[in-house]
C-alpha cells in the first residue's frame, strides 16, 4: 500500500464515518417506536397490524419502527431513555427490576391520567394491573401507572394427545389424577415430564407445587414484600419435598438438570415426552412444530393460584416528544381488532373482542386464562422478587433434580439472597 493511497483511505474513511450525525431531533410527524418481538410471534403480528392502523388513523404521521434485541433494551434502556436518542414509545419488561427501576429514576411518563381518561384499567383483570403500577420505591402493585400490557402469559400444561390415548390416560382434572397419569407413563417406561433444569422451566414446576398450598396473601408477601416470608413454611416445604419426590418417582429424569428450555420444547415438539409444563409463550412454536401428533393444553390441576402475569408492556419515556401520539398508539393496540389478531397468532389478549377463536387450541388456552384471571389466580413468577434471583432458582432446582441437596437445604439456599434483597430495599 503506497503512502498516498493510505492517506487517501484515511481521509475517505474519516469523511464517511463523520457524516453519521445524530438524529436526536424529534419530528412531530414521526412516532419513534421500539419493540423486541419476533415478526412471526403473536405480538409481532399484532403490532405490525397496529402500526398500519395507526398510520391509517393519523394521516401524515409515520411510525419509525426499529426492532431491537431483548438484551440491548435490557442493558441500555436507562442510558438511552436519559438521552436525546430515546424513542417516543417502547416495549419494556414488567417488574421491579425493570419498569419499576426506570419509574423510580424518573425516566418514564406517568400514564395514570390516560388510564382513567381512556378507560384502559377497565379492560384489564385486576390481577394484570399489578405489574403496571409502581410506587415511589419502584415496587409493583400500587401507585402510579407506568406501563400498559397488551397480552398475558401463564404456565400451563402441554400434552401429547396421541401418547395419552395410547396409554388410555384421560386429561387429569385433579392433582391425584395428574400424578396417576404420570405413574401410568412411568410404568410403561416413559419419562412423563419434559423439564429444562438448566433454565426457567424447573423453577416454574417448583413454584406451581408451592402455590398449591398457598393463598393470595402468601403471594403478596413473597412478591410485593407485604410481610415476612418463611421459606420453611408449609407451602415451600411441600413444593420442595414434592419436587424431590417427583424426581424419585421418575416423573422427571435426572438428566433434565442440564437441559435448556429450547431443548425441552424441542423434545416435546418431537414427541419424546407426553407432558411439558411451561409458559403459554410456547403456543406458537408448538402449533408450528408439532405436526406429527395431536396436542393440547390444560390448566395445572388442583391449583387456585398459578404462575402467570401480564406480558411485557408499553412504556412512554418521560422525554418522549410525541406523548399524545404514543397514547393513541397504545389505545389502538388495546382495540378488539388488534387484540384478536394477537389471539389468532397464538397469544393471550388482555381484552379480546366478543367472538371466540375458531382454533380449538387457541380457544382452550384463552379459556383457561379467563378462568385464572376471573379467580384472581395469577401469582407471577418465582424469580421476580430479587435481582439475580433467577440464577439462584436455577441452581437450587438443579440440586433437587440431581439430588445433591435435600429439600430443606435447597430452601435455605433460596432464603438467603431473598432476605438480603429485602434488607437492601428496606422492604
Amino acid at each position: 500500500m503506497s503512502t498516498r493511497l493510505f492517506a487517501a483511505l484515511v481521509v475517505a474513511l474519516l469523511a464517511v464515518s463523520g457524516c453519521g450525525g445524530s438524529s436526536g431531533d424529534s419530528d412531530p410527524k414521526t412516532l419513534k417506536l421500539w419493540h423486541y418481538e419476533d415478526p412471526d410471534s403473536a405480538m409481532g403480528k399484532a403490532w405490525a397490524a397496529a402500526i398500519a392502523k395507526f398510520e391509517e388513523k393519523h394521516p401524515g404521521v409515520k411510525v419509525a419502527f426499529e426492532e431491537k434485541g431483548f438484551e440491548q433494551i435490557q442493558k441500555t434502556a436507562p442510558m438511552v431513555l436519559n438521552s436525546n436518542e430515546a424513542p417516543d414509545i417502547l416495549e419494556y419488561n414488567k417488574g421491579n427490576a425493570t419498569t419499576g427501576l426506570l419509574s423510580r429514576q424518573g425516566l418514564l411518563a406517568d400514564l395514570s391520567e390516560q388510564v382513567s381518561g381512556r378507560g384502559w384499567d377497565k379492560l384489564m383483570a385486576p390481577n394484570l394491573k399489578t405489574t403496571s403500577q409502581y410506587d415511589e420505591r419502584g415496587v409493583m402493585g400500587s401507585g402510579k401507572w407506568f406501563g400498559i400490557p397488551n397480552y398475558a402469559e401463564y404456565v400451563t400444561v402441554y400434552y401429547n394427545k396421541d401418547m395419552f390415548a395410547a396409554r388410555g390416560v384421560a386429561v387429569p382434572k385433579t392433582f391425584a389424577e395428574f400424578t396417576a397419569a404420570m405413574d401410568a407413563f412411568v410404568a410403561a417406561g416413559v419419562t412423563p415430564l419434559a423439564v429444562g433444569g438448566g433454565e426457567y422451566p424447573a423453577q416454574q414446576v417448583l413454584y406451581q407445587l408451592a402455590l398449591s398450598k398457598a393463598d393470595r396473601a402468601w403471594v403478596d408477601r413473597y412478591q410485593r414484600y407485604t410481610g415476612d416470608v418463611d421459606f420453611h413454611d408449609a407451602a415451600w416445604t411441600y413444593g420442595a419435598t414434592t419436587f424431590a419426590d417427583w424426581v424419585a418417582k421418575k416423573y422427571i429424569s435426572p438428566e433434565a438438570s442440564g437441559v435448556k428450555a429450547e431443548d425441552m420444547g424441542l423434545s416435546f415438539i418431537q414427541g419424546k415426552f407426553p407432558i411439558m409444563v411451561s409458559g403459554s409463550w410456547w403456543q406458537g412454536r408448538v402449533a408450528a412444530g408439532a405436526t406429527g401428533f395431536q396436542w393440547g393444553s390444560f390448566l395445572w390441576p388442583g391449583n387456585k393460584l398459578n404462575a402467570g402475569s401480564s406480558g411485557n408492556q408499553w412504556v412512554v419515556p418521560a422525554g418522549s416528544k410525541n406523548k399524545d401520539l404514543a397514547y393513541d398508539f397504545i389505545d389502538i393496540t388495546l382495540s378488539p381488532e388488534i387484540q384478536d389478531v394477537l389471539r389468532e397468532a397464538g397469544g393471550i389478549p388482555i381484552s379480546p373482542g366478543g367472538t371466540p377463536s375458531t382454533d380449538p387450541a387457541a380457544k382452550a388456552l384463552n379459556d383457561d386464562f379467563d378462568t385464572l384471571a376471573k379467580n384472581d389466580g395469577l401469582a407471577y413468577y418465582p424469580d421476580w422478587p430479587a435481582p439475580g434471583y433467577y440464577d439462584v432458582m436455577v441452581s437450587a432446582t438443579q440440586k433437587l433434580i440431581t439430588g445433591t441437596a435435600s429439600p430443606s437445604q435447597v430452601l435455605d439456599e433460596l432464603a438467603k439472597p431473598y432476605a438480603e434483597n429485602r434488607a437492601n430495599i428496606g422492604g
Binding site: S17, G21, Y36, D38, Q72, V80, L266, A288
Partner: protein, 279 residues
C-alpha cells in the same frame, strides 16, 4: 539414514493425523451453523439441530438480511473497523517510534500505563464514555465508536510495536542520519517500510477485533442506522424463545465477512509472522 527415516515417519503421521482431527473438531460448530442456516424451521423442529437438512433453503438468510437491513450494517461495520484499523496503526507507529526508537524518558511507565489501559474491562469504560459522549454529541455516532476503538487498539499496538522497535537495527538508523535524514524522514523512509509486515499484521488484527466488538457498540450505537453487524445479530436474542434456524442464518452472515477479510489478507499475516525468521 534408513533408521532415521523409519523413526521419523510414524511420528510425523501421528502429528498430521492429530492436526487434522483438531482442525475437524474446530470446524464442527461452524458446520452446525451452516447446517441449520439452510434448514427449514419445520425440519429443525422435527429432526433437531444435528440432522442433515432435507432440502437447502436460503430463505432464512434472505429474510434475516431484509429484516435487519443487513447491507447497511455491513457498511457500518466496514467503516468502523476499517477506520479503526488504519488510525490505530498510525497512532501505534507514532507512539512506538517515540517509545521504542526515540527512547524517551520514563518509557517503561508509559508502557505500563498502556498495558493497564488495555486490561481495563469494557464494562468499566461504558458509563464514563456514555456521559462524556452525551456532552460532546458523540453518543449514537459511528465516529464516537471509531475514536474509542482507535484508542483501545492503539494501546495494544503501541505496546507491541515498542518492543519490536527497541530491537530495530541501530546501524540502519545511524546510517540514515549520517545521510542527512531528519526524524520524520527516518520514520517514513526507514522504519515504516522495514516494519511493514508487522504493521500489516496489526492492521488485520485490529480490523477483525473491532469487527467482532459487541458490548461498546451495543451501548453507544442506539439507532438501527448506525449499528454494526454483531449488534444486529443480537436482535434475534429473544426473551424466552430462540429461533434456531434464523439465528444460524444470522451467525453465518456474521462470520462470512470476517472470514473473507482474513482470507484476503492472510498472505500479509503469514509474511508478518515469518518476517523475523528469515535473515
Amino acid at each position: 539414514m534408513a533408521t532415521v527415516h523409519a523413526r521419523r515417519e510414524p511420528g510425523r503421521y501421528l502429528v498430521l493425523i492429530g492436526l487434522v482431527a483438531l482442525a475437524g473438531l474446530m470446524l464442527v460448530p461452524f458446520a452446525i451453523v451452516v447446517l441449520n442456516a439452510v434448514k427449514a424451521p419445520a425440519d429443525y423442529a422435527a429432526n433437531g439441530p444435528l440432522s442433515l437438512p432435507q432440502e437447502v433453503r436460503i430463505q432464512g438468510i434472505v429474510d434475516f438480511w431484509q429484516r435487519v437491513d443487513f447491507g447497511r450494517k455491513l457498511v457500518n461495520s466496514a467503516l468502523i473497523a476499517g477506520s479503526v484499523a488504519v488510525l490505530a496503526v498510525v497512532v501505534s507507529v507514532l507512539n512506538a517510534y517515540a517509545l521504542g526508537i526515540g527512547r524517551i524518558k520514563g518509557r517503561l511507565w508509559v508502557l505500563v500505563l498502556f498495558l493497564i489501559a488495555n486490561t481495563l474491562p469494557q464494562e468499566a469504560l461504558v458509563y464514563p464514555l456514555y456521559y462524556l459522549f452525551k456532552q460532546v454529541d458523540l453518543y449514537d455516532t459511528r465516529l464516537g465508536v471509531v475514536i474509542v476503538f482507535t484508542i483501545v487498539q492503539a494501546a495494544f499496538g503501541t505496546y507491541l510495536l515498542s518492543s519490536t522497535f527497541v530491537a530495530f537495527p541501530r546501524e540502519i538508523l545511524e546510517a540514515a542520519r549520517i545521510d542527512g535524514a531528519n526524524k520524520w524522514q527516518v520514520l517514513v523512509r526507514i522504519v515504516v517500510p522495514i516494519s511493514r509486515p508487522t504493521l500489516g499484521v496489526l492492521f488485520v488484527f485490529f480490523f477483525i477485533w473491532t469487527w467482532n466488538e459487541f458490548f461498546i457498540p451495543l451501548v453507544l450505537l442506539v439507532s438501527a442506522d448506525n449499528q454494526t453487524v454483531p449488534v444486529a445479530l443480537g436482535v434475534l436474542q429473544g426473551q424466552r424463545l430462540m429461533d434456531a434456524t434464523t439465528t444460524s442464518a444470522s451467525a453465518l452472515l456474521g462470520i462470512i465477512p470476517a472470514v473473507a477479510f482474513f482470507l484476503i489478507f492472510q498472505r500479509t499475516l503469514t509474511r508478518g509472522l515469518t518476517a523475523g525468521a528469515v535473515k
